[in-house]
Amino acid sequence: MSVLLSVAVRNLLQSRRRSTLLALAIGLVTMMLVLLLGISGGIKANMIRSATTISSGYVNVAGFFKVNTTDVAPMVTNVAEIRKIVEENTDDLVQVMDRGRGWCKVTSGTASVQAGLSGVDINEETRLLDVLQLAPTSDYKKEGGTSETPGNLKDLMKPNSAVIFASQAKRLGVEVGDELTFQTETSAGRTNTIDVTIVAVVRDMGLLSSWSMFVSKQVTRDLYQLNEDTSGAVWLYLKDIDQSEAVMDHLREVFKAKGYRVMDHEAKPFFMKFETAAGEDWTGQALDLTVWSDEVSFLSWVITAFDTVTWFLITILVVIIAVGIMNAMWNAVRERTREVGTLRAIGMYRTQVLQMFLLEAVVLGLFSTSMGALVGALLSLVLNAANIRLPMDAMKAILLSDTLYLSVSPASLISAVLALTAFTTLSALWPAIRAASLQPVVALSHAD
């Protein structure tokens, strides 16, 4: 085998020009694949990050409360008991908390936006403190913005406080310390208003952050005149996000067994379930258990679309590469017909000839894909470090972030290298079989 290997390497080195060009092409494709997988991974990572910060825990025990059959509020009562049940029945639980929910018009006096409120108890929200980053004033002030980052997330402890995202601050023309007015309209035609103070402005987190704000839990309670035991949803964080589905399924059974009314699982965010809930004829509380991906399922088309483009592109590229390799291998087989004849005449087996040629493709493939993957990985590191701002809104919407972010995992590197090496070898198979099937006598008499 080691002889075959050294023969393969020798042959590759001998036809250096050809090998270099092929290696370049294969490396280029591998690099592309790594970058595209990196962007796709980046979108997923951004999605998980913003989803599990803004709109969901890993698993949610949310639900709807209906005063009558048609009047639906996305709220849960008995929060204390629900939290207790969750804590007692979940393995590998890192944290449980509950958030108030609200949807209101936010006015600054000069401009207004529509926003979904998350009512938080900042003492519980250690995760939020980690993920949210204070924005420099240059991100949102029209004039005189600096790299200073005023504000303090912990001030959400204070009553009537709010934390908003930089793009909202810019739109509303406000900064830390300014006041905002929240207004909600209830179905009975009432308008409830409340004034809050901005305690911090944080950096944008893509699409979801354009309509989300954080307020102290008391704000959402005041807006809807709710009691202490009522909230929007109970959120669970687990050690492993991949366990979410299993935990949700388990908890659903637990809550059913405890006599709670539990809605059928529907992979949609809560705000798309109002009509379903309104149509059913129960009243009172029904729980709705979801995992994080359900709450952002309306964004999954982005990943699907991107992955489709990636597959389309890589398939075309692989076909082109295969054509190139096949052609090069044909050439090699033709050039070395005599050599093959000699080797066969002195007793080399057909399978060994086959191995010799395939090994050449494997060595070429492995070398160039590894190089390509390495360059791709380095390039993504450079791109991430450069912190490139995305120029278009549509791009921000698609990539779910305001900066370009590539997430390259070792697993994706290895699979790119292995898959493309396999393809390289496969495309060399036919010429190699042809070489192996040469009759020694015929091969020897071949004059090229």
């Binding site: 050809r18 060009l21 092409a25 280029l28 494709v29 409360f65 005063v67 009558n68 059959t69 048609t70 009047d71 509020a73 018009k105 006015t107 006096g109 000069t110 401009a111 207004s112 936006v113 529509q114 926003a115 793009s167 739109r171 023309g173 007015t181 179905s187 009975a188 035609g189 009432r190 308008t191 409830n192 208003t193 409340i194 354009s210 309509w211 005041d222 809807y224 709710l226 009691n227 009522t230 149509g279 059913e280 004829d281 009243t283 009172g284 389309f312 592109l313 075309i316 590229l317 082109i320 590469i321 054509v323 190139g324 090069a328 044909w330 278009m392 809104d393 549509a394 791009m395 698609i398």
Partner: protein, 695 residues
């Protein structure tokens, strides 16, 4: 040898070589053909999408260009941007002045004033309807028939009283709930209704002010509304068509609901779901038995029976019960059970029950929450957060032909300029004068701020967390409703009154679409020289995120093509290098018998260029074939969102000479680029080396 001879020789040699090195020619040729196919088809499809999108956007609401204030904080996004809430696009204070200035440009055919607002409308609930009928009866002196509606009101009160138990679980304000219970118990009691004849007006007053505000369940609609000069609008936007009802009479205030919004959101939910189920079965050929989603939809719809049941008067209910008894004799339960059974349609009963629904049930329920012909109250927030409300009559529904199914184009409703200004919260001089009159009449000093809020927001029972608002505008302390009642109704405006004054943006229609870019520049210059303070954007930018969408697809496609060519160039290069190496002997011989380096190089370049032409030709022909086939049958829009991009349910792509020309030049460039290196290698082959050895 002269030039012509050299050229002839080159052509002959090139053909010979292509034929001699068949494998190489095939591989390179196939790659180039594929490349051409990709470029030509891709660009043709994109161009078709862009032009159909241009058609749908320019002919529905945008016009060719849009003009709006330079002071805008947000970009204009007619079909919506990324953020919720109203965009601040500044104001055009004097539309007349702008129009006069723009009309000096000969390219411009028309300028249409516009503005976007998103008022909210509360759908009426059953109680509102009942109380209205009672009031009418009492007003007509028919107290007895008014009283016959009493039991229905009583039943609603009982139901509300039951709901209080549920409310207690959520609310922190239990005292208030106790107060409500007193009112509800009173209305539920027979004693209350026994005294109805004694003073029906006082009873009604109690019901209106104390009881009605406690009923909840009414739907909220958000109508994204485009205000414009409708008479002018219909002249320039030919896709606009009235579907139900009539156009708003000239010079009057009114409202037109988009047909899609009307059917999707305003219609009774059970009826809409039934429509949807019926459509899926009749148009898409699905069956209820075999389509899982559809089966669930039917089951869900059956559970919604209350939406019909609660709307029936006792007389209608018993009549319907009889009819359902004959239709479904096996169902022995009450009307609720019958309705559920009725709605649980299957493939055999769907058609007959669909017909039965529209013949026997629909006429007795309120099929639309805000039906055509009725008057509704639009409420909107002004910039300072102040609430404005306007009563308008719904004259009809409309659609943009070809875009009926589009969520984007179908989401806009329309109104006149006067209503737009009312909702936007900008007063005309006339209104200001009128307001001054009212102020003197009412005696503003006597009305405190709190009372004004109560008058405006509908009574003392609001659960308001009233905070002292800054920036309270000039309406404070005035009975605005009275001012508006006086004004809306039947007042007729002249076209000038409608058009002149405030607008938020203006659509510019061109005589010839090809002058789009030059006119855009001219308008910019005009705005600068005449200090109009306006900015101008083309239809794609004006449409908002939809316009950017095509740019994104285009950049994705071009990036893909670039990457594919990059790899293809390397592979072609490699193939050519190998082919060159094989021909070392031949080239050496040519050089030895006097061929110059330049000739060898030219030979190689010419060879691939020829190959490029042939491959490009085949690729282009294939593309033309495919595109014309697609242009014949059409590409169906995969989703309703795509309908705007396709300007209809199907895209009929076309291919132009430009697409082919573009593809051919790209392919020629690529073939030259990839041959350059092998050609140089060939040109550097020294005669002696070539003759002495094989490689």
């Amino acid at each position: 040898m002269n030039g012509a001879d050299v050229l002839k020789l080159l052509v002959q040699l090139a053909f010979r070589n292509l034929a001699a090195h068949r494998v190489k020619s095939l591989i390179v040729g196939a790659l180039l053909t594929f490349g051409t196919l990709l470029v030509v088809m891709g660009s043709a499809l994109l161009d078709s999408i862009e032009s159909s999108m241009q058609k749908s956007i320019t002919s529905s609401v945008a016009g060719h260009l849009q003009v709006y204030s330079e002071e805008a904080k947000d970009p204009l996004a007619l079909f919506g941007g990324l953020s919720f809430g109203p965009a601040d696009i500044g104001e055009i204070n004097d539309f007349n002045k702008l129009e006069t200035a723009l009309k000096t440009l000969p390219e411009i055919e028309a300028v249409v004033p516009m503005g976007l607002v998103t008022p909210t409308v509360f759908g009426k609930n059953e109680l509102d309807g009942l109380l209205e009928r009672m009031r009418e009866a009492v007003r007509a002196g028919d107290v007895a028939s008014a009283k016959t509606l009493g039991p229905q009101v009583q039943a609603i009160a009982k139901q509300l009283s039951d709901e209080l138990g549920n409310r207690r679980l959520l609310s922190r304000n239990l005292e208030e709930l106790d107060q409500q219970k007193v009112v509800l118990d009173k209305v539920s009691s027979d004693a209350f209704w026994a005294g109805f004849e004694v003073d029906p007006l006082k009873t009604l007053e109690f019901l209106d002010f104390e009881f009605a505000p406690l009923s909840t369940a009414s739907r909220i609609f958000y109508f994204r509304t485009l205000g414009t000069d409708l008479n002018d609008f219909v002249k320039h936007f030919d896709r606009f068509r009235i579907v139900d009802g009539t156009m708003i009479p000239e010079g009057q205030q009114g409202f037109l609901i988009s047909k899609r919004v009307y059917e999707e959101f305003v219609k009774n939910k059970v009826a809409r779901e039934l429509d949807d189920i019926h459509e899926q079965v009749t148009e898409k050929g699905s069956t209820i038995a075999e389509t899982p989603g559809l089966k669930e939809q039917v089951a869900r719809n059956a559970r919604q029976y209350q939406r019909i049941l609660f709307q029936l008067t006792p007389a209608d209910a018993s009549a319907l019960e009889g009819k359902l008894r004959t239709l479904i004799p096996e169902e022995k339960g009450d009307l609720a059970a019958q309705l559920q059974n009725f709605l649980a349609v299957d493939d055999t009963t769907l058609d007959s029950r669909f017909a039965f629904f529209y013949a026997e049930i629909a006429p007795h329920i309120q099929l639309y929450d805000t039906p055509v012909g009725s008057t509704m109250t639009l409420r909107s927030f002004t910039k300072s957060g102040y609430v404005r409300s306007v009563n308008v009559k719904i004259y009809g529904t409309f659609q943009f032909d070809g875009l009926e199914r589009s969520d984007l184009a179908g989401s806009l409703s329309m109104t006149d300029m006067v209503t737009l200004r009312d909702l936007y919260g900008k007063m005309s001089d006339e209104q200001r004068a009128e307001l001054k009159d009212i102020k003197t009449q009412v005696g503003v000093a006597d009305v405190g701020r709190a009372d004004a809020e109560a008058a405006l927001f509908g009574g003392s029972t609001t659960l308001e967390v009233t905070e002292d608002k800054t920036g309270f505008d000039e309406f404070a302390g005035v009975d605005l409703a009275a001012a508006h009642q006086k004004e809306t109704g039947t007042k007729v405006y002249t076209q000038a009154q409608m058009r002149d004054g405030l607008a938020l943006n203006a659509a510019v229609i061109l005589k010839d679409v090809h002058t789009l870019n030059s006119t855009l520049t001219k308008i910019q210059e005009l705005s600068k020289s005449q200090k109009l303070g306006m900015q101008v954007v083309d239809w794609a930018q004006a449409s908002g995120i939809v316009g950017q969408f095509v740019m994104v697809i285009r950049s994705v496609l071009y990036t893909c093509i670039f990457i594919i060519f990059l790899v293809a160039v390397v592979i072609i290069n490699n193939t050519m290098v190998m082919a060159t190496m094989e021909r070392t002997f031949e080239i050496g011989t040519m050089r030895a018998i006097g061929a110059q380096r330049g000739f060898v190089m030219a030979l190689f370049l010419f060879e691939t260029m020829l190959l490029g032409f042939i491959a490009g030709g085949i690729g282009s022909l294939l593309s033309v074939g495919v595109i014309s086939y697609l242009g014949h049958v059409g590409i169906p829009a995969p989703a309703d969102v795509i309908v705007v991009l396709f300007a209809g349910p199907r895209l009929y792509p076309t291919i132009t000479l430009g697409n082919v020309g573009f593809g051919m030049s790209v392919i020629t460039f690529i073939s030259l680029l990839s041959t350059f290196y092998p050609a140089r290698i060939a040109a550097t082959i020294a005669p002696v080396v070539a003759m002495s050895g094989k490689e």
